[in-house]
């Protein structure tokens, strides 16, 4: 396994390395500067002392000169004074020799001082002590040689001192620059280290974000590639486990859903045979009215009606189960809106007459054909009209209209019945949902009609919606696409004003 430290370890390593680098650079820099300072002071002190010794040599030589040629006229050259002065000169020379160290220029200058002084003593001092007087020219030359050599030593020392100051300044500057470079380098190293750390997290984190988005989008098979620091890898693993769990749950849910669909499909299928038989025989009895007494006839009629309702409910359930299982098939083709609306209106008219209701069917002129399965859309229309017929009171007005709406034809069934409350509208297309309000509860029905209508309309690529206001009726609309190979619309298009107009304010709309 390759080296893959955890995030905290990486951070810790990063900080330690950064700290060590900064500490090292700082300590080295400060130490070096301190050393430069100390060296500078030592050297400067040495050269000052050397200059002091040069002064002593100068004054020693003056005393020597005074000893062999006293300034007072009466005084005689004194050997003892000379020897005392010479000792002082020699002491200063010896101390200076120690101070020159390994500086050869200064050593040479000092040597010259010693040599010229010795030459002076031999050629000038000794004869004078003996009472002889050397030639003035010789005296002047040798005396001058000593004085100038001492001068030279002093000035060379002063120069050397200046040089040390300059060197120290340069060293200080160079060291400072080096320390700055070192600090910047350490920070750069830290930067590289941390950006490496961030980079090691970026790709796996991006993959996680991507994976989470895909998962949220419904792709339950999505898994992320695990990588990066230990913590990020752990996150990746946890993400994958979560995705697996979700996928398993979804599959289980699908399986149960399928079982339920199969169950409903099978049960309603098995129910159909006995219902057919019951209905058939009951209808046969009602057809033989004359051979039955009133009560027998009434019973037969109730059996036939109930069997009819049962049969319708089974057919509805079967349709929904097929729709859920994706087995509900339609055969859409170019269909004339007018003949479809009129056929359904004709079929439904007896129901309306029975309740003394007025049904108007109005189809816009020159509507193009829609792409629809006429039987199925007939079923949708008849479901909507059945609802209007059932829920609207006696004497109510019900309208079935068809108008053009863009690339679709909009069908609307509206009544002036009791209507539905806003919260009820949200549920009208749900299965087994029934209107809750007062009288509506007494009205029979399976609560499947609108759910089927919705399935069928959506299967046709249309949309269904309901709008209503409590107390002033309900309107159900659905759209169907215009058939491309159908009869084209002729003439001008009428306005697409929505019939059964919406009243402002409290009108609610439910559509999905």
């Amino acid at each position: 396994m390759r080296f893959n430290p955890s995030l905290t370890a990486r951070l810790r390593i990063g900080f330690v390395v950064l700290f060590a680098l900064l500490l090292a650079v700082s300590l080295l820099g400060v130490g070096r500067l301190f050393q430069i300072r100390v060296d500078f002071e030592d050297e400067t002190t040495r050269y000052f002392q050397l200059e002091l010794e040069a002064e002593r040599l100068r004054s020693g030589f003056i005393l020597e000169q005074a000893a062999v040629r006293p300034p007072a006229r009466a005084a005689r050259p004194s050997a003892s004074e000379l020897s005392q002065a010479a000792d002082g000169f020699a002491d200063a020379g010896a101390r200076a020799d120690e101070l020159t160290g390994d500086d050869t220029d200064l050593a040479t200058a000092l040597e010259r001082v010693i040599e010229t002084e010795e030459a002076w003593r031999e050629a000038v001092a000794s004869p004078l002590l003996r009472g002889q007087t050397p030639a003035g020219r010789v005296q002047a030359r040798l005396t001058m040689a000593v004085t100038s050599s001492v001068e030279q030593l002093a000035s060379a020392t002063a120069d050397a001192r200046e040089a040390v100051r300059g060197d120290a300044r340069d060293d200080t500057r160079n060291t400072t620059v080096l320390v700055i470079i070192g600090l910047v380098g350490a920070l750069l190293a830290a930067l590289i280290l941390f950006s490496g750390l961030i980079n090691s997290m970026r790709a796996p984190l991006a993959r996680l974000v991507d994976g989470a988005r895909r998962l949220a989008g419904g792709d339950l098979e999505t898994r992320v590639e695990v990588g990066g620091p230990v913590e990020i890898s752990a996150l990746g693993k946890a993400f994958n486990e979560m995705a697996s769990e979700l996928e398993r749950d979804a599959r289980e849910r699908d399986r149960i859903e399928r079982m339920k669909d199969d169950f409903v499909l099978t049960v309603s299928h098995e129910l159909r045979t006995p219902v057919t038989v019951v209905k058939g025989f009951a209808e046969m009895l009602t057809a033989q009215r004359r051979s039955l007494n009133t009560r027998q006839y009434e019973a037969a009629e109730v059996i036939a009606d109930s069997a009819g309702q049962l049969q319708k409910m089974i057919n509805d359930l079967l349709d929904l189960a097929r729709s859920d299982a994706g087995k509900l098939r339609i055969e859409p083709g170019p269909t004339s809106v007018r003949s479809l609306a009129q056929r359904v209106g004709r079929q439904m008219r007896p129901n309306f007459d029975e309740k003394d209701q007025k049904l108007t069917v109005s189809v816009e002129k020159d509507l193009p054909d829609v792409r629809a399965d006429p039987d199925r859309i007939g079923q949708v229309l008849s479901n909507l009209l059945t609802n209007a017929n059932k829920y609207a009171p006696e004497g109510a007005r019900v309208r079935l209209t068809a108008t053009r709406n863009g690339n679709a034809v909009e069908f609307a069934v509206s009544d002036n019945g009791p209507g539905l409350a806003g919260e009820e509208l949200e549920h009208v297309f749900e299965r087994f949902w029934r209107a809750q309000s007062g009288e509506a509860q007494e009205i029979g029905g399976t609560g499947l009609g609108l759910a089927i209508a919705k399935s069928l309309v959506e299967l046709h690529g249309g949309e269904i919606s309901a709008e209503s206001e409590l107390g002033s009726g309900a309107t159900f609309r659905f759209t169907l696409p215009i058939a491309r190979d159908g009869r084209p619309a002729k003439g001008t298009q009428k306005t697409t004003r929505k019939p059964g107009a919406t009243k402002s304010g409290t009108t609610q709309k439910a559509s999905r």
Partner: protein, 119 residues
């Protein structure tokens, strides 16, 4: 009198169909599977005026019986009753030679209307 051969594997459905058709004035022969239908028709001589055939039956199904009858050139009108009716089924039945296909459970008026058209 018009004779109709009715085939359905459910005895109750068969009895119901028989009684109602008899009430409508038809003479009814019955069969409980495709084999019985084929035996009854035989060489296609002295055949009933119409066959009402359930598509799904054990042994020889209604669909199979329909296919064989048409294969041997029997041109008797046949109305299929199918429970698994999807949008394509009437077309498939028609391709096999059925004159009409009605869904099960059937609406009696619809069924009798189609029968009357054929006899």
């Amino acid at each position: 009198m018009t004779r109709i051969l009715v085939a359905d594997d459910s005895e109750t459905v068969l009895l119901m169909l028989q009684r109602r058709l008899e009430m409508g004035g038809y003479e009814v022969l019955t069969a409980t599977d495709g084999q019985e239908v084929l035996d009854e028709i035989g060489a296609c001589e002295d055949v009933p005026d119409l066959i009402l055939l359930d598509a799904m039956m054990p042994r020889v199904s209604g669909v199979e019986a329909l296919r064989r009858l048409r294969e041997q050139g029997c041109e008797i009108p046949i109305v299929m009753i199918s429970a698994h009716l999807d949008a394509q089924e009437p077309e498939r039945m028609k391709a096999l030679g059925a004159d009409e296909t009605v869904p099960k459970p059937f609406d009696w008026d619809d069924l009798i209307g189609r029968i009357e058209e054929l006899v």
